[in-house]
Amino acid sequence: MRKQRNNIFYGADLLLILLYTSLIILGLINIFSVSSTASNFEAFSLSTRFGTQLLWIGLSIPFIIFVFFLDVKLYERFSSILYIFILIILAGLFVFGKNINGATSWYSFGSFNLQPSEFAKAITALAVAKIISESQFDLRKVRSQWKVFLIVLLPAILIGLQPDPGSALVYLAFFFVFYREGLPWYYIFFGMFAVILFILTMAFGKLTILISLIVLTIISFLYLRFIKMRKFKKFGIDIIVILILSSTFVLSVDYIFNNVFEQRHRDRFMVILGKTSDTKGIGYNTDQSVLTIGSGGFMGKGYMYGDRTRGKFVPEQDTDYIFSTIGEEWGFVGSSLVIVIFTAFLLRILYLAEKQKNKFSRIYGYSVVSIFFLHFMINIGMVIGLLPTIGIPLPFFSYGGSALLGFTLLLFIFIKLDANKVYEW
């Protein structure tokens, strides 16, 4: 027992680390392809994005060791302090931050920039884990609900104001955690219902949806009235309330769409819904990305042989759109393999999280898988043309030091917590 204690890596899940390593290597290989020009194959130079990414990977190793070195208890204990600290850091961006590509998301330290929002996810996850795991905490109670919503909303709002709506959106991931930990089902149900209603209203128009809602209500009304008469008294009123609420929501979709969202979001949304087709302006990224992936065919064009990657047809191809390179050069075989590895990665974390005896570890692990899942879904969904353009990175693939380090910490804190479970018998 003592000997094992001395080995700080003892109990770490090797399969998860293996999946992590393969994702990192695949990402690096593809960044090399994207960042090389047709004639320039300089590999190990810091001036290329490949070189920088390699440096960040190297840099994350001491951080991983550091994560393993700390005692597990510390994460729980310091989560509140860290949370407050990161809120201050995020707020500080509005004063000291550096504006890159229209968003004040970075602190600049000479030649390199740090993006605190990438670390905020892990810290928020710790804070959420901590508060939910407290013994008197009960997510069925409204008071508790407001507490956790606030914890998630604060960093999300600060990030959204940078403005970085993509990164802010990731905080929706915590709703999976809340649901898992006892948040009543109708939060999730109404949340999804609202999203679906919103999209349907945008796609088919207010009138159609309103009529459909009324018809649906009448049908269920009749159903309850004549077939399940006993339940009628119980749910009759609820149905009317739902109808009124959802109709109001449908009628306000225009207002939300026009006043809450910005024009670029509206445009992207319309392109995805097929309301406007513009392959040169707004739809350009998605269109080019889908074309590029499609041109890969079954086997792909071969590594470094993607003509569309060489020609830099897809903007942001080394960051948000990195998956299009995989699609072009590795084809269906390679890109679906990446999907499979990623899915396996997610399922492994989920599996381990569920196995945790310690509530704090379980909630943290659940937060980790939810965050990775949202990144995975939104990023690839966007790149293959299923979701509107929302700029968030694909973990371990997209170029970017802060993101890489942030995701690595997020994951390895969980691996550390998981490794510790052997001592909790």
């Binding site: 020009t37 047709a38 004639s39 999976f176 649901y179 898992r180 930990e181 006892g182 999730i188 080019q288 889908v290 074309l291 992936i293 499609g294 041109s295 890969g296 065919g297 079954f298 064009k301 042989y305 003509d307 569309r308 060489r310 020609g311 830099k312 047809f313 903007p315 699609g327 084809g331 269906f332 890109s335 679906s336 999907i339 499979v340 990623f342 899915t343 997610l346 399922l347 989920l350 569920e354 659940y366 898988v369 939810s370 899942f373 995975f376 879904m377 690839i380 969904g381 293959i384 043309g385 299923l386």
Partner: protein, 626 residues
């Protein structure tokens, strides 16, 4: 744990949706997948090699090249276009501009296609200066055909832009590229054109060229086209065309020893240079639209005429081979031949030999219808049924290359027609017909049809005493002799049967129907022909002036040229076809023509009034029916 399943299912479903979506865009949705050329990332620059030259058998240059320039367009790259200025510069109107742009867009918005083809050198000079103003347009130089002779248009053919069907079928060609469309340009397209070079260039999204695609792995150098030498003797060809002016018809001359086509004349013809350059499509409409003269119709290969009397020769050979006659067998001519009991069943004859037994030799040089009707009837009736007889006869005919494609190396042709039992059984109910029903076949009328080249080949076969080489037009590719056609085709007739026939044909010139076309210095053998012909005008058979036909070969003992001539509505074979054949043989064998009076007579002879008459009767008929 049950609550934990939500995320589990979410992960699985999202992963599955992603893989399905990838499957759709990468494998099912074809539009995205086709070659790198179909997306704007890679452009191919083509390097067109010069087209091979064409020479005649004596090394005279027939077809060469001259520089020409095409205005190319890449529709996607057009930007801030001043349409009016461009139209003024290249002298087209707006509607034409719109049409051309649409066409190129339909072909491909990413790929270059020819916007305006074959502008001249002079136009090029000032258009080039202003071209920079029009983004998406550029000039590409290419060589264009130049025909060095105003002759043999039907042999040379022409080059035109590839059509869409062909682009679909043959991936070598891009829209707007040129391809041989007729004659040897079509037949030997791949030899003449060579292979275009390709350079793949990687472009970025701003359409800048950023280097070669995959380090030039796919690039290829152009392979130049090969020069070819034809079997045509252009001097003889031109001489024949001169003799045939103002007449319609076809002349084919063959070297019997090799099957090489010496001349292939179709009249009326056109200047091959009309089908070159910017005016090509305009001229093409005009030439193809001339339904009266039909200059694009190759009468030497495509026209099917009743062969008339020269066909008697083959019938005699069949008779000899079948053993129904010997050279000594004789028949009487009663100003014709009664083949049935009714007074209508009579075939008239103008040989004028009455009350005298006519043997084979005289029958040929006098062209006696009655004699050959007897021979034909005996041949058919030798068999148990006329069906069997006609099939045996038909098989002999086919061995001469009659009634089917000859298999020469030119892209067009007709089968001609040699009837068989199946044909007559279809036309006569219950197969109830007798040899006499087909008696017109004896004298090359009736159901028999031949093309001039078939008849020339027949003549060559007689000259060779029973075999022929498939006629062909290609002699050499660069300096390598062309040997695809050196296989002897043997007929079903024994060699010994040709001797008496050739003697008869010799007498045609000596004392027979073509005696006025005789020349001291050359021993010629021939046979005149005069074929009745009809045109069907709205179901009514209208007879026009007879076709003048002649076949000949010379010299008798060592044949070097075999020739067949059809002159449409030229009257007796002896009046036009025979002298022209005789003059051409003289020209070919001696290099000059001493009979200048005869030569001038033929040049001056015009049959235009005959053709006008036909046109008149056709149009007046149309008027009355209206």
């Amino acid at each position: 744990m049950r609550r934990g399943l939500l995320l589990f299912y979410f992960i699985i479903i999202v992963g599955a949706i992603f893989i399905f979506r990838l499957f759709y865009i990468q494998i099912i949705d074809d539009e995205y997948r086709i070659s790198p050329l179909n997306n704007s990332a890679v452009r191919v620059n083509y390097d067109y090699p010069e087209r091979g030259y064409v020479f005649d058998r004596n090394g005279v240059l027939l077809a060469a090249n001259q520089p020409s320039y095409d205005i190319m367009v890449i529709p996607r790259e057009i930007k801030d276009l001043d349409t009016l200025e461009l139209c003024n510069l290249i002298k087209i109107d707006i509607s034409e501009f719109v049409k051309k742009i649409e066409k190129s867009k339909i072909y491909s918005p990413y790929l270059p296609s020819v916007f305006l083809s074959q502008i001249t050198k002079d136009e090029y000079a000032y258009i080039q200066e202003k071209m920079y103003k029009f983004k998406g347009f550029y000039i590409q130089s290419r060589s264009q055909r130049e025909y060095m002779v105003n002759s043999a248009a039907n042999v040379l053919g022409y080059i035109s832009e590839v059509n869409d069907d062909l682009i679909q079928k043959n991936p070598y060609y891009q829209s707007g590229e040129l391809i041989g469309a007729q004659g040897i340009e079509k037949q030997y397209e791949e030899i003449l054109r060579g292979k275009k070079g390709m350079k793949f260039i990687q472009k970025d999204r701003f359409n800048r060229e950023i280097g070669s695609y995959r380090e030039g792995t796919f690039d290829s150098l152009p392979e130049p086209g090969s020069d070819i030498t034809l079997t045509i003797d252009i001097a003889l060809q031109q001489y024949g065309e001169k003799l045939m002016q103002n007449k319609r018809g076809g002349i084919v001359a063959i070297d019997p020893k090799t099957g090489e086509i010496l001349t292939l004349i179709s009249m009326p013809t056109y200047n091959p240079n009309l089908m070159v350059g910017k005016e090509r499509s305009k001229n093409s409409v005009k030439l193809f639209g001339d339904k009266f003269n039909m200059p694009m119709y190759d009468r030497s290969l495509q026209a099917q005429y009743p062969p008339g009397s020269p066909f008697k020769i083959v019938n005699a050979l069949v008779g000899l081979q079948e053993g129904v006659i010997t050279p000594e067998t004789s028949f009487y001519c009663y100003h014709g031949y009664q083949y049935g009991s009714s007074s209508k069943a009579f075939m008239a004859c103008h040989c004028g030999v009455v009350n005298y037994p006519i043997k084979l030799n005289m029958a040929i040089y006098k062209s006696c219808n009655a004699y050959f009707a007897n021979v034909y009837k005996r041949t058919i009736d030798k068999y148990k049924s006329p069906s069997k007889g006609i099939d045996a006869w038909s098989a002999h005919m086919h061995s001469f290359g009659l009634g089917d494609f000859l298999g020469y190396d030119l892209p067009i042709g007709r089968r001609g027609h040699i009837p068989n039992s199946e044909y007559y059984n279809k036309n006569y109910k219950n197969g109830n017909w007798r040899s006499t029903a087909t008696i017109s076949n004896a004298i090359g009328q009736g159901e028999v049809l031949t093309t001039p080249i078939q008849l020339a080949n027949l003549t060559a076969t007689i000259a060779n005493k029973g075999y022929y080489y498939t006629p062909h037009i290609l002699k050499k590719i660069t300096d390598k002799p062309f040997t695809d056609f050196n296989q002897k085709k043997v007929t079903t007739i024994d060699t010994k049967h040709f001797e008496p026939i050739i003697d008869g044909m010799f007498q045609v010139f000596e004392i027979g129907t073509a005696r006025y076309s005789r020349i001291e210095t050359i021993q010629m053998c021939g046979k005149t022909g005069t074929a009745e012909n009809f045109k069907r005008i709205n179901g009514r058979k209208v007879q026009f002036e007879d076709h003048s036909i002649f076949i000949a070969f010379a010299p008798k003992d060592n044949p070097k040229i075999a020739i067949a001539i059809f002159v449409e509505n030229g009257g007796f074979g002896a009046t036009i076809a025979a002298p022209i054949a005789s003059l051409m043989i003289e020209k070919y064998l001696t290099g000059e023509v001493l009979r200048t009076a005869m030569e001038q007579g033929m040049i001056d002879k015009s049959l235009e009034y005959q053709y006008q008459k036909q046109l008149f009767s056709l149009t007046s008929f149309e008027k009355t029916t209206k």
